[in-house]
């Protein structure tokens, strides 16, 4: 079992650009959540996808958007990048049977640097 995988590992962009981060969930998982972890901070919830729809969203602007594909993999898109978007972006997958809870397994993250 490969666990949760994310790509790319590192990314450097300039202000105003757009970026796409990718996540493949753990085998058997159908729910993907994205978190932003700024340096020296705890992760902050961005949004969660289930059945290809955004199910819950944190306090992030519309510049942050996502998508989930039929194979449960997911993308996080950030438009009009700001310096403050520099962070480690973590993807977590889980299984949500009948709307119940499921332990979230985290990937290694994508380190985004905005110059």
């Amino acid at each position: 079992d490969a666990g949760v995988t994310q790509s790319p590992t590192h990314l450097i962009k300039t202000r105003g650009q757009q970026v796409t981060l990718r996540c493949s969930p753990k085998s058997g998982h159908d729910t993907v959540s994205w978190y932003q972890q700024a340096l020296g901070q705890g992760p902050q919830f961005i949004f969660q996808y289930y059945e290809e729809e955004e199910r819950q969203r944190g306090n992030f602007p519309d510049r942050f958007s996502g998508h989930q594909f039929p194979n449960y993999s997911s993308e996080l898109n950030v438009n009009a990048l700001l310096l403050g978007d520099s962070a480690l972006y973590l993807c977590a997958s889980s299984w949500a049977p009948s709307g119940g809870w499921g332990e979230q397994f985290f990937g290694p993250g994508t380190r985004l640097t905005v110059l």
């Binding site: 705890g42 992760p43 919830f45 969660q48 809870w101 985290f106 290694p108 993250g109």
Partner: protein
């Protein structure tokens, strides 16, 4: 809304000494509680979780935590630490029912000195 406060940003201890990392939470509804560990340049790994039942929860790597509802605390403990325990530790809370959003504390950096 839920919130988590980790009372110590850094905790230095000597190898083989006991350690306690403190976590307090606030919530108007029942919650699930978690401790995660993050090693340098890695993602988060679940150490242990409290969902219900016994208030003393045992996790991996010899860690345990005690849920105290009256004090809204979920402190993490280990009786004897090793150099390999050097890492960032995060306490997190999730609403008991419904969505799976995790709310994390700011983290505690545990440094083990030989």
């Amino acid at each position: 809304a839920q919130s988590v406060t980790q009372l110590d940003s850094q905790v230095p201890v000597f190898e083989e000494a006991p350690v306690e990392l403190r976590c307090n939470y606030s919530s108007s509804v029942s919650v699930y509680l978690f401790w995660y560990v993050q090693y340098p340049n890695q993602g988060l790994q679940l150490l242990l979780k409290y969902l219900s039942g016994s208030t003393l929860v045992k996790g991996i790597n010899g860690f345990e935590a005690e849920f105290n509802k009256s004090q809204t605390s979920f402190h993490l403990r280990k009786p004897s630490v090793h150099i390999s325990d050097t890492a960032e530790y995060f306490c997190a809370v999730r609403r008991g029912q419904g969505a799976q959003k995790l709310v994390f504390g700011q983290g505690t950096r545990l440094t083990i000195n030989p």
